[in-house]
């Protein structure tokens, strides 16, 4: 019998299912139906599974083994609170993003009552506390923990990932408290050291155990095996597998994935990002090998206003204003003119998101002459750029769009890729590759090789 796997993504708008044949390493069918998280998630799921069944003859047996990821019900919403903005606050932010979260607030220093109220109003799924290197500052994280201990039901899950010497005192603060408080390793145990992996695991576990339950996503477990991670996390897992390979199979090497969506644009880089020139000095917090950034203000559906600010001063295609007004009302591009406008906006999104993700160098003039100082990752040498997300994969000129990720002579200080090959996730299967990588990494990699199309 064929070994068929079903991989599911519960999105905020659509529930997507992909059926892959592991034996033949082939995508058999894909289905997309409106999500029904608000009422009962299993309704939409059942509908999508029925569509798949019609094509492949799968049934309960395969469904029981199916794995899913989810960004439904607002995704995994997190607030980070650290000490110094460019140190432990940034470290917490990187940890949350790396775990596939949507960071809805990032705070520094001792929190105020007003900030706590702001956070309570946001009702984040998880609050991540950092602050102090191990053996370093204790005041800020303890102060913040105390404020959170007095919050109501809007804050229930707290992860403590700061100075380890404060754990005992924080435990005491929460001792007669009903909140679910977890302790993990410091995201910045020493200056210049970023240790986000233990915190990532803690976040993901909490997501699987509590958060999908609270959001009603866990009901899907009546039909399928499990919801194992947030969707962005699945894409990051896929990116890592495709870059690094797995036992018995080589990967593509260092790469970038750019995912343009309706509300946000995600950029993932799997790359060391070390300076290309030996005499460059690195400054700032080292960034993770697997880095994800999310541009919350760049999306082709919900963030058009912000994009319109960016087009100012550029040459615009005919009827631009009128056509964009249509996009505002939810229209999708159909005519050649509309496509031109949509493409311009997508190109800008890609350009800005990539510039924010990539590191930069700065020339500093001092008494000893010129020096290059690098902040963030040098991605000039990355040889693979993968595009995904509707606005890219449904465009007939996706190569032109991905070209906006490139290094440019006019802005030589932005360390974007110089000469990469471009690939398109044509069938929108990256999340499925990420899910499958957890159980069948070799097969997942073969699928990626087959279905990522070089352009």
């Amino acid at each position: 019998m064929d070994d068929i796997r079903l991989l599911i993504d519960f999105g905020s708008t659509f529930t997507k299912v992909v059926a892959v044949d592991l034996g033949r390493e082939e995508v058999l069918a894909a289905a997309r139906v409106p999500s029904t998280v608000e009422s009962d998630i299993t309704v939409g799921l059942g509908e999508a599974l029925k569509k798949i069944e019609a094509h492949t003859g799968t049934g309960g047996l395969e469904e029981k083994e199916a794995l899913a990821c989810s960004s439904a019900a607002g995704g995994l919403r997190m607030v980070c609170a650290g000490f110094v903005p460019e140190l432990t606050s940034k470290a917490a932010n990187l940890a949350a993003l790396g775990a596939g979260a949507k960071v809805i607030g990032c705070y520094s220093y001792k929190l105020t009552q007003q900030e706590i109220q702001e956070i309570e109003a946001e009702a984040p799924d998880i609050v991540l506390l950092s602050g102090g290197t191990d053996g370093g500052d204790e005041g800020v994280i303890i102060h913040n923990a105390r404020l959170f201990s007095r919050t109501g039901g809007a804050v229930t899950n707290i992860i403590v990932a700061g100075n380890k010497t404060t754990h005992d005192e924080i435990r005491e603060i929460f001792s007669d408290n009903r909140k679910n408080v977890l302790y993990t390793k410091n995201v910045m145990p020493e200056i210049g050291v970023l240790d986000v992996a233990p915190c990532n695991r803690e976040i993901r576990e909490l997501f699987m155990k509590n958060i999908i339950e609270a959001k009603g996503i866990a009901r899907a477990k009546a039909v399928i095996k499990d919801v194992i991670m947030p969707t962005p996390s699945a894409v990051l897992e896929a990116a890592r597998l495709i870059a690094d390979g797995c036992e018995g199979a080589q990967g593509f090497g260092e790469l970038i994935v750019i995912d343009v969506g309706g509300a946000t644009t995600d950029v993932h880089s799997i790359a060391q990002g070390k300076p290309a020139r030996a005499d460059t000095i690195m400054t700032g917090l080292p960034e993770p090998y697997e880095k994800r950034t999310v541009e919350g203000d760049l999306g082709l559906k919900y963030n058009l206003d912000r994009l319109l600010e960016l087009v100012k001063g550029r040459e615009l295609p005919p009827n631009f204003d009128a056509i964009v007004k249509g996009f505002h009302e939810g229209k999708l591009p159909q005519t050649e003119e509309e496509f031109a406008c949509h493409r311009l906006l997508t190109c800008l999104t890609v350009e800005v998101a990539m510039s924010r993700h990539a590191g930069r160098v700065e020339v500093v003039y001092g008494p000893t002459g010129e020096r290059l100082v690098q902040h963030g990752k040098d991605l000039t040498g990355v040889k693979t750029v993968i595009g995904t997300g509707g606005p890219i994969i449904f465009s007939d000129r996706c190569r032109e769009i991905l070209g906006y990720t490139l290094f440019r002579e006019e802005s030589p200080f932005s360390l974007k890729p110089e000469n990469p090959k471009f690939y398109i996730d044509e069938q929108y299967i990256l999340y499925a590759v990420g899910l499958l990588s957890q159980v069948e990494p070799e097969k997942a990699l073969s699928l990626a090789r087959k279905y990522l199309i070089q352009i």
Binding site: F83, G135, I191, G366, P367, R371
Partner: protein, 142 residues
């Protein structure tokens, strides 16, 4: 009371002469301190943010190229603003250009907020023994 004081070391500003700060860091480690060695070309702002996160007890800066006064412009005000008024500040090395009289230079650096100012070729081991331990004890940090 803390048992092991935390000390930050580094060359300040644009100076890339790293040997001095390496010797200082080594001597501090040998003397049993917890050392956060930032290496060369550390901006005043980086000294401040690192001191905040590590709850440092002292900062020992070194400089050789003679331009440290320029590099340290505004440092004292910033560290006061950052709540680090209690952190001990030492600096040593070739602090101004050319041959100079340390007695003349010392007050200028004291004005910049430094508790101790050392001329070139200072014996760091002796400084740790005679000054640093005494100053830390006086502040109740040892």
């Amino acid at each position: 009371m803390k048992n092991t004081p935390t000390i930050i070391t580094g060359t300040v500003g644009m100076d890339a002469h790293v040997i001095g700060t390496k010797i200082v860091s080594r001597a501090l480690k040998d003397a049993g301190f917890k050392v956060v060695a930032l290496g060369m070309q550390v901006s005043p702002e980086e000294f401040i943010s690192v001191a905040q996160e590590t709850k440092a007890d002292a900062i020992l800066m070194t400089s050789l190229y003679g331009m440290s006064e320029l590099d340290l412009k505004g440092f004292n005000e910033k560290r006061m603003e950052a709540g680090l008024g209690d952190v001990l500040l030492y600096i040593g090395g070739n602090l101004v250009i050319g041959r100079y009289d340390p007695k003349e230079v010392e007050p200028r650096f004291k004005k910049l907020g430094f508790d101790r100012v050392y001329p070139p070729e200072t014996d760091i081991v002796a400084v740790i023994k005679s000054d640093l331990k005494k100053d830390l004890k006086a502040k109740g940090k040892m």
